[in-house]
């Protein structure tokens, strides 16, 4: 594996410089973030950029910031930092779960949230997790900025709503509601590798501990990351102790998901994984919503 020739390499120091470089650039110009997916594609020559714009030097794109209007995660924030970000504990801790088990240490030291979302690989952990958390994706181009809901941002695998002249600037999460918790868990054949299935859940509870709203994101689907609408509805009213009802919510939701059969697992096995991982992440999310774990 060795890259095809690359004519130009730019290392902008600011977002403005990066956007100026991107403005009017052709299809053969690509931004590189952590490169943990893109470099594989470049080395395999499935992608042959002539001009690479390296975002690793753009300091303003990195870091997790909490403010009264919510939490903002810069696109170039690396998994290592996300995994231990105190700003995400509790309501948005699913992102810490996902980041802590992406690939391996070396990958987490380099890989970024924004890069993963823009690549939108079908087995990636960040897309279904951000889907469950109801994130907004902030995009910038030389002509201005826009914000897109994660549900609209993520397309089919390897496709997103990002235009070629745009840079994903930040992932924004609204101020955490009271008594909210989230969790993510995946299962694969190799520890921490790309999973066969990953499930993220975000729960809001009332003062009595009953779920008032839920979002469920599923990764590992050939069709791309999806929400499990039937499961989300069936989780409303559940309490942490309602284990059978929670399992039933995932069993019911599995029927509405495009769970494919492939060399890694059959549809039936994926249904079982969805239910099993789902009940586990719901238990963790309930505990986090109540201030535990």
């Amino acid at each position: 594996m060795y890259p095809a020739p690359i004519d130009r390499y730019s290392a902008p120091a600011t977002l403005g410089e990066a956007l100026a470089l991107l403005a009017g650039a052709g299809d053969d110009t690509l931004c590189i973030a952590g490169g943990m997916s893109l470099m594989q594609a470049i080395k395999a020559r499935t992608v042959k950029p002539r001009h690479l714009i390296d975002l690793n030097g753009v300091a303003e794109l990195a870091g997790v910031r909490a403010a009264p209007d919510g939490v903002s995660i810069g696109a170039m924030t690396r998994y290592t930092e996300i995994a231990r970000a105190p700003e995400l504990r509790g309501a948005y801790e699913a992102l810490c779960d996902a980041a802590a088990h992406v690939g391996d240490r070396q990958v987490r030291n380099r890989g970024t949230l924004g890069g993963s979302l823009c690549w939108n690989y079908l087995a990636a952990c960040s897309p279904p997790t951000c889907l469950a958390l109801g994130a907004s994706i902030e995009l910038a181009a030389a002509g201005g900025r826009r914000s897109v809901a994660i549900d609209e941002f993520l397309g089919t695998p390897l496709e997103t709503a990002r235009r070629p002249d745009e840079v994903l600037v930040a992932v924004r999460l609204p101020p955490a509601p009271p008594r909210a918790g989230s969790a993510y868990k995946k299962w694969g054949l190799v520890t921490d590798a790309l999973p066969v299935l990953g499930v993220a859940v975000f729960l809001q509870c009332d003062a009595s501990g009953a779920c008032t709203a839920a979002r469920v994101g599923v990764g590992g689907l050939a069709a791309g990351p999806k929400r499990a609408a039937a499961t989300e509805q069936a989780l409303v009213g559940c309490r942490a102790a309602d284990t059978e009802r929670i399992a039933a919510a995932f069993a019911a939701g599995a029927a509405g998901l495009p769970l494919q059969s492939d060399i890694w697992a059959t549809t039936e096995y994926r249904q079982l994984l969805f239910r099993d991982l789902g009940t586990q992440v719901v238990a963790t999310a309930f505990a986090r919503a109540s201030g535990g774990q």
Binding site: P3, P5, I6, A11, Q106
Partner: protein
């Protein structure tokens, strides 16, 4: 297309003209003759043998271009021993027989060195989790875990 880069490797600054498509691992091995950094897979980023530290962080050098290290600091296995003395991790690997063929060892040491800076008192589970990105096909990892644990104690 070639471009000029300046990279500080093991404390020595190197100014070189390199193709943009040159991988960092090949820059280290072929241009700087630092062949302690190995390639054990076919540059797929799966084996971890090419792990070096970029500004102190363990990364796989087959997953970066050399131009991305411009202006940065790289530490390779050749930079681990200081003043003719092995690093405590290297001593522990020797004492615990934590290698057989040795092909993966440089990458493991460069990863483990940063890991122990971050986790001075690791549990065995944490050590094993830290080694996920480094394939060793000889040892079965038991002696590697022992060596990392022992080095952690010596470094404290």
């Amino acid at each position: 297309m070639d471009t000029r880069i300046s990279v500080t490797v093991n404390g020595v600054r190197h100014d070189r003209q390199v193709p943009i498509r040159l991988l960092l691992v090949d820059f280290l091995r072929d241009h700087l003759a630092l062949t302690g950094t190995h390639v054990a897979c076919t540059y797929e980023g799966v084996c971890g043998a090419c792990t070096v530290q970029l500004d102190g962080k363990a990364v796989k050098s087959c997953m970066l271009l050399a131009v991305q290290a411009n202006g940065r600091t790289v530490t390779t296995i050749e930079g681990l021993a200081k003043d003719g003395r092995l690093h405590p991790l290297q001593e522990a690997f020797n004492e615990h027989h934590a290698l057989q063929c040795g092909y993966c060892t440089a990458g493991i040491l460069m990863n483990a060195e940063e890991f122990l800076r971050e986790h001075p008192r690791p549990t065995d589970d944490e050590i094993r989790h830290a080694l996920v990105g480094n394939l060793c096909r000889c040892t079965g990892y038991a002696h590697i875990v022992e060596a990392v644990r022992d080095a952690a104690a010596k470094l404290r």
